[in-house]
Symmetry: C2
Amino acid sequence: MSKCEQCIVREFSSLKALTKDELVKLSDCKTSHIIKKGEVIFEEGENVNGIYCIKDGVCKLTKLSANGKDHIVKLVTKGELLGQRSMISDEPVNLSAVALEDMQVCFIPKSEVMGYFDKNNQFSMNVMKSICGDLKEADDHMVNLAQKTVKERLAETLLYLNDTFGKNEDNSLKVQLSRDELASIIGTATESCIRLLSDFKKLGLIELTGKKIVLKDINALKKLAE
Amino acid sequence: MSKCEQCIVREFSSLKALTKDELVKLSDCKTSHIIKKGEVIFEEGENVNGIYCIKDGVCKLTKLSANGKDHIVKLVTKGELLGQRSMISDEPVNLSAVALEDMQVCFIPKSEVMGYFDKNNQFSMNVMKSICGDLKEADDHMVNLAQKTVKERLAETLLYLNDTFGKNEDNSLKVQLSRDELASIIGTATESCIRLLSDFKKLGLIELTGKKIVLKDINALKKLAE
DNA sequence: TCTTTAATATGACAAATATCATATTTTTAA
DNA sequence: TTAAAAATATGATATTTGTCATATTAAAGA
């Protein structure tokens, strides 16, 4: 079992506030898991009873809409924690988490985490700040969905993927989403998403090779995204 | 100056965790304000340096979109706190707050509130839970904006206004919004909103008398909202 | 009160987006 | 490897939604 004290990823999450003693104790009670691409970490409505720390990989957080379609609310990657909101609210999780690529995650039981809230003020503040960041992001995202066109949202999302997750050696976006997933981030029909990608390609803004997407003209995309 | 110890509204917010001593101290440093309908409490981008406790009235939290239109992210009413996220993140506020009716609010400076975070764990937990509630709401709202039609969103919003803020003696919705404001909650053009309200009226779902809206057939509206 | 301005309403039309059908390509698994 | 299934692509068309023009009504100020 790997030691939390030596885990670099910890430095990027709220857990960086933990003391050496707390980390040693944490190592003993956490469990490590390998999640394969496509596998579910938890499902909307479940009682998770703890948080997941992402050591490697990217997952999507989705919510089922009344029309039966999944909407992708957020992408989460290494260094971030999952299930904080649910644990603090003491409610089932509001979103499902599904791996977009192979992942390494550690599960920390609720009992352990709640202890930190009592004894480690810096940890509390870190968690609070992280949730506040999520809230700001959600509000901003909401305004975009309400006010921007599908084309603007697609351009914006491509730039977001590029900025947040970077690109491979061949310049293609590192996070590979299906057209369906891309559509369910921007909130449109799969066909509309495919059509707009084709348009972008014809305009020389992007290059498409199978699932791979290469951003060719970032400035033009920025203009499109407004 | 009214005393916080005797303020009933306090019981409905995170402030309910404060001790008698803390409340006495709070009474001394808080400032009370009357805000007239239409007046701005704070504006997006401002440094607020504290939180507002709403003693009476309702306000809208809005964000300016790139297209120049305001989007209403949330309505907030008595017993709730404003500016928590900004204070915790130590950032300018992300949203503007504008009174929808005459309001009474109290301002509590940051220095005072931050002290509670250190010394009063229950207060911290309350604030965290409240922000977690906002986040869940925002995520749910996001999915609705992305996946539901304007008609569904309008029906849902009317029901929300009814459930959350209640109605007057004449059965009309207590919170009076202009068509423009209603449109900027559901994320559509003002004309589309007006048109759909007319449709709802023709179908006997609602009654319109000037700005007043009476919900006539709640079950049918629920079906429409899915 | 009267005048001016703003809000609400509605028609006509344009643009954006969704849906359905179907072809093509890619992936999966027998 | 090959057959079946899934994902991607594109056309045709319907529906939804936005925009512009213009009444009509309500509200605000002189």
